[in-house]
Symmetry: C2
Subunit: 419 residues, 2 copies
């Protein structure tokens, strides 16, 4: 079964918002063995939507449409779908109207016309009650093919996918699974990684496909088996290949599938019953935000001191004023004192500290924008690294944050063979 | 002139990565008056790419293609383009080869075959030297239409767009400007906003189009003038409409065009010569990260104490242990003490503090997941608000962070008419 995804909205075509819905929908379909053959974004005009539906139905059996269902008048999707799927009138969806009234009542807002109209759906669709918002989803069938229209607000789309769309797809179709295995790596460049594992990659059987997915946190490898009737023991087979891969890139493998640097650090800390904290200058709280984005982080994360000013590095982290005077705040000695100071101030077993120049200003010939010192303190010792990152401010901050997490991960695995 | 954007890569179709390139490209084209009529993502097979090129050339004069040019072997884009654009052979692009050698030399890596191949391009294209990476861009012309292929790594694509593609487009075409004006709002729901400004919106002339773009930080309004020959005085005309809009939603307008909550807070602080700091529990450093993502934040941002543990709230922020015992850490009195404590501990004029339950665990019937207390301390007083956010952990953390920034913004504007 093939699917396609259609995103409707001028705000996407002019680049004002990034379409995150399509990747989320593709993941959920992929988990059910439904592969996506195309994604499109088109403007919110009748012609564009109708044309896209015609072309996507020619390619696929299922179209998931998002966007164009908000309460305001820049939305034409619903009326275009009504015409496309031969509706004779708009019908009130009573469960949606009751839900909207209840929702507004809670907030003490009277039911306005805009919200009332959201309960109207074409009479040829099955309405999907949206408990995460006000606009209902719409399920259309035509000539044995399906189109499902969902609101563009991400958490509303996610609610409807999980609670209405996926369960209905499971009921209607017997689905083949696609097998994917992801390997998260850190601290190794794509081309270095490719050369290190070339022999292993070339020996993979033809039904296993390998992809390299670089990102700021590291290169993710993805092994996919697209065979319609994947071997019953494909998981075991892949495990055997992974056992061969591991020694080729020791200490670069962060984890598998949903694992990330931040979740790997959390797992290592929990396994040791240890705690961590951060002392951040140039990363400005980003490392703490990455760590605390993990559910259950309070089990191992004590907190952070974001010390943007030298004054605060001295008072809150115990850095010596004289060291800052002599070496500058972006130096080995200062970043190591920050990491040590955070262990004391925040009562943590492990800490990471950062100090650098995120730019765009503040660089100098000997110390350009992108220069970052990172220190890791463990119960045994403190070590530090001077790194140079390219790119703009956002990129430098994120790469420094991920590098700090990777250095902490390596300290927690006690592995000297750092990538 | 119409453009379309084609993103190549299975990693997008399976939802593993979010396509951020398309929105970035669309913005840059839009700034030059080139409107994008369609975006597509397709798999990295010869058939899919060729089919997409045929269909997109039927719709548009320019196709910007990203992805499928990395050093590793999962890329087929370059060879498909060579065939599509009638190349007879692959030619070495000497500036690219010199650049790759220099780049690898700096890192002490020998030139491998994978990297050497990146300097090969179809002989029918003009190669675009990529100083941000190794894979060159490729500029093809066919039957008076253009296709430009760029690497998928975002900062490499951005480099080539800014330094090679846009300058060439400007030289080749006389471009009409599209006029956009963005109004960033905060603290007001989309439907409430729509009803508050309905009369104003209905009185807009037909050549001005209004769109509502909701996000976690607030609803952005976008006024667009698509007329090919936009009035010379369109900017003045829009200014006049904005003056009418302002009193309809007092204190909800954060700023215009590129302004955001975090940049608005920065501007207000700089105008007052004042400083700020944060004391974060449930937001885990996210507010500090948002603030420090702004270039020049060190002029007004002192730092942050991320106090995940009660122990740290007591020691670092001076919260009374007895208050935590009596009221719990998610309470008015504790969050106000945190904000006050941060003023003293971080020597800041203004502070925001957060304490709440980001979930998924930790909720109770009387205090569900999503309950967040936010306090703002100014030199004059401390105030606090209890808010309830829906959604998952990430959403709750971000909404709490943006709400905190908006409350700080309102405190800095001394405006009692909070939305």
């Amino acid at each position: 079964m093939k699917a396609s995804i259609l995103t409707v909205g001028d705000e996407i075509l002019i680049g004002q918002i990034v379409d995150t819905n399509s990747s989320c929908i593709a993941q959920q379909l992929g988990d059910q063995g439904i592969s996506v053959c195309e994604m499109r974004s088109t403007g919110d005009t009748r012609e564009a939507i109708t044309g896209a539906l015609d072309e996507l139905f020619a390619l696929s059996d299922l179209i998931i449409i998002t966007g164009g269902l908000g309460p305001t008048k820049d939305d034409v999707t619903k009326h275009t779908l009504a015409a496309y799927f031969g509706a004779t009138r708009m019908a009130q969806h009573e469960p949606t109207l009751r839900h909207i009234k209840k929702l507004l009542g809670k907030r003490g807002i009277a039911l306005g016309e805009l919200n009332q109209n959201q309960a109207l759906v074409p009479d040829t669709c099955e309405a999907l009650l949206n408990l995460a918002g006000t606009a209902p989803g719409m399920w259309f069938e035509k000539d044995g093919k399906l189109a499902v229209s969902l609101p563009g607000v991400p958490h509303e789309m996610e609610y409807l996918m999980a609670n209405e769309v996926i369960p209905r797809l499971k009921k209607h179709f017997s689905l083949n699974k696609i097998y994917h295995k992801n390997i998260a790596t850190a601290g190794i460049a794509e081309s270095t990684l490719a050369e290190a594992i070339a022999a292993w990659e070339n020996a993979l059987p033809p039904y296993l496909r390998l992809a390299y997915l670089p990102s700021l946190s590291g290169v993710r490898l993805r092994l996919s088996c697209y065979t319609a009737d994947a071997h019953a023991n494909i998981a075991d087979e892949v495990e055997a290949y992974l056992r061969q891969l591991q020694p080729l890139i020791p200490s670069c493998i962060v984890g598998y599938d949903g694992d990330t640097l931040e979740s790997a650090v959390g797992q290592l800390l929990k396994a040791r019953g240890a705690t961590m904290a951060t002392a951040e200058s140039c990363t400005g709280g980003r490392i703490a935000a990455l760590i605390t984005a993990q559910p259950g982080a309070s089990a191992y994360f004590k907190g952070s001191i974001v010390a943007y000013s030298n004054d605060l590095k001295i008072r809150a982290l115990g850095v010596f004023r004289d060291e800052i005077k002599e070496h500058g705040s972006i130096s080995k000695v200062v970043v190591e004192q920050m990491a040590r100071g955070a262990q004391y101030a925040l009562h943590a077993d492990y800490t990471v500290a950062t100090s650098g120049i995120a730019g765009p200003d503040g660089g100098s010939p000997g110390r350009p924008v992108g220069t970052v010192w990172i220190a890791v303190a463990t119960p045994d010792k403190v070590t530090s690294h001077k790194l140079n990152f390219g790119g703009d401010r956002e990129r430098i901050i994120l790469r420094a944050s991920y590098s700090a997490l990777n250095l902490l991960r390596l300290a927690l695995t006690d592995d000297g063979n750092a990538c």
